[in-house]
Amino acid sequence: MPFNSQTVLIVAAILFALGLVGVLTRKNIIFILISVEIMLNAAGLAFVAAGMRWGQPDGQIMFLFVLAMAAAEVSVGLALVLQAHHQYRSLDIDQMKALKDEVPG
Amino acid sequence: MTVLQHVLIVLGVLFVLLNIAAGLIWVERRMLAMWQERLGPNRAGPFGILIVLADTLKLFFKEDWIPPFADKWIFITAPAIVVASVLMGFVIIPFTPTIIVADLNVGLLFFLAMSSLGVYSIVLGGWASNNKYSLLGALRGASQMIAYEVFMGLSLMGVVMMTGSFKLSDIVMAQKNMWFIVTQPLGAIIFFIAGIAETHRLPFDIPEAESELIAGYHAEYSGMKFGMFFIGEYLGITLISAMMATMFFGGYLGPAFLPPWAWFFLKTFAFILFFILLRASLPRPRYDQLMETGWKVLLPLVLLNILVTGAVLLWLKG
């Protein structure tokens, strides 16, 4: 296999698909967060690869923004996980389906 | 530079570092004894220096016990991580103008990356032990190290701004006329404090506080695995001391009557002794005090340092 931009993008696509599988199959919120991180990372890889393809710094800059976004997302997400665990005594995402302020039950 | 030379440098650095780390067992005990007005190890060999050998043998022959309730693989991996990450940190240190394993142009960032990986040893060790005290120690260690990593990175940014490079050899050369301790005293102090916290040495040895958590994250460890943590700690001290010397005290630079490696060694050893002196003299702060100091005092200070440095640099440029 020659080393060209498609190869890198295919690696990114594989990682993204794996992350997506994780989001879709896991019930535990922590695993979902992990999978989201994988997907973000794959997207970042695609950005960097695109940037390197043209020899431009923009791809790396986009990766930096992805990084900042991931950091903010994880901090808020984990705070929510803590509260959810505090309230539901479980991390099952399917238990948190209530759209209104219904009593979980 | 041939491949052979490269391999020689790597092996040489490794050899020296491991020996220093072992030797520090004796140094620390003697020094503590001196400052606490007692004798310390003085039986084996001249000045008791063979205590190093004795200790090592003892560690090797102890029963290597893995608790049945532990997560075996992580339990084994954890002590390896600390040594590996600290040793990786030495990769970018210029011992002399020629003796340097890899002079990366992101050298400083590489050092920070490796030190941030060091936290895994504590966290995983504490978690894998499946023990209340270990878990608490690991929790403390995780939050402490995440917090102090931030200041550690930021405190070095003043130096980077003045040098204009992440490459450590550039940073050393930039101190030819004046050490950065003169222009960046605040950065140096904060870096040192953060360094103590990163190596979780006294007074910031909260993850392993004996009086509260027995031994914290390595309570379940014994034998050579415990030894790895032990060596990792001494290597960490050495790394932070070497970084102090490199970043703020001119590294291997010095008057020509001594070779560069000697200068580097002297400066580093001075900081190692300072580490030991701190252990001998300071009490341990409370955990919440540690975190509050970090976020509420050091973070604003270090940001101020960056701001002032940037402003002065812009002003000097005109």
Partner: protein, 207 residues
Amino acid sequence: MPVLFYIASVVAIISTLMVITRYQPIHALLYLVVSFLAMAMIFLSLGAPFVAILEIILYAGAIIVLLIFVVMMLNLGKDTALQERQWLQPKTWVGPSILCLVLLTELVILLFRSPEVPMQVKPVPMRAVSIALYKEYVIAVELAGFLLMAGIVGAAHISKHRKKHLHRFLQEEAKGPQRRAEKLTMIREKESTEAVLPAEKKPVKKT
């Protein structure tokens, strides 16, 4: 450095696969660290060392440590692993996996349709990245700052636990200034009325 790239890619893919199939959260996170380190290697092989190092510092060094921190705080151990084993039955993962496989296939087909361009590994200097960051993208940088600020405030607010009792040291400290003590007792009273005790934990009056 194609060889480096291929090795790192294989490691990344395998470790990611391990991440999403683990039962133990900690194991998954460790594989994730490996995956990210491999990703950093990919970046390095692509000629982006700055991004590679940031990947390690921020992802491996901070974000995953945060995740591990939470896992430890919630003490997700063997029970969680057992539950994950129950949850992760084939009937739950086959369907989504096939969907994702279809997605991947389509992506790969689409990628191979585009003309092949050999990757010239000519590292973009870090200085160029920094200058672009603070020139063209300065507004985006500021927005990212806002985002992080909002993240900090949001996380601090959401995860604020109502403390039921103070540590004895803090209680001693609180006794000093009278006002603060009063405030604390007020808060405590409010919370004690609000707190919903589980039925079995309610104090039973001795007869």
